[in-house]
């Protein structure tokens, strides 16, 4: 396997990039590969330490993620507002 972007691993079956959403890993949800349909499920029993470390990271970065998300949202809203102003400007 070769390194891909962070948060993505090469699918163990078809080697296509497979996104591993941290929430799904932490909650034990099955993560499906769009390429081959393979399903990966985190094993809580045997991955205690790793999932704890992941959970700590997730908690500690929650605020940063929220801030980043709201920043992106407000930037997007600003764009939309500008666009709508442009659209709704009355014509003479």
């Amino acid at each position: 396997m070769t390194a891909t972007q962070p948060g993505r691993i090469p699918c163990p079956a078809c080697s296509q990039p497979l996104a591993l959403p941290i929430e799904a890993v932490l909650t034990g949800q099955a993560i499906a590969c769009a390429g081959c349909g393979l399903e990966l499920t985190a094993q809580r029993e045997t991955s205690h330490e790793a999932l704890n470390a992941l959970g700590r990271w997730y908690e500690e970065t929650a605020e940063a993620r929220t801030t980043a998300a709201s920043g992106q949202a407000s930037a997007a809203a600003g764009q939309t507002a500008k666009a709508s102003r442009r659209v709704t400007r009355p014509r003479r």
Binding site: P6, L40, A42, L54
Partner: protein, 231 residues
Amino acid sequence: MSDDSSEKAVATDIGGGGQPPTDGGDGGGTTAPTPRELPEPQSSVLSLAQLIGAPIHALVDAEAQSAMATARFIRSVGFTGNGDGMGDLGELQMARFKRRHRGADGSDEEVEVQIPLLSMLPIPALQIKDAELDYTVKIVQTEALPQRQAEVDQLMAAKRQGPTGEPPATLRATFAREQGSNGRRSVDMLVKMKLRIEQADMPGGLAQLLALASESSSQDVLAKRDEEGDG
């Protein structure tokens, strides 16, 4: 050069965020000190090199701190060893996943996939993209450096060129006030700093680490079951 003694009071701000001068004036009422009257190296008057160098040093320090934070993150999240300090890294922290796999003989295999945590997370690595430093300084003293002059003379002699006319000098300066638009004093200006910070490109070493981490992903067959039609 040294025509304004009030600058000394301004310069105390550099040393420790001191009070602005209480005379409130522009130094017009004070007598101009001669260079001799200026105390020798004092905390408020620094060499120009120190003055310009300090913020640059701070930027380098900030980059180093950012790199250390990245290293700490990798240690604490990516490895099983104690995340604090610089002790043993331990092993790569691996998360274990289960996947179903149908074998060639039609039987269902349960396969364990081990994936290093490091390859699952975005690794924070910030760097200063650009920095804009805007200094407002006032040169209050120049000081000839005979020793440096001797070095320069020696160098120039070696190159069979004549000695330079002017001896090299150390400039002593303070951060000066910025004048308001009406010519009156506005706020004290020390140094204006504008930074742009971005996620750094993956450093070579980190890319190599991630590649190694990815290579350590592994799969093991856990159990083999006969076809039950539940795959």
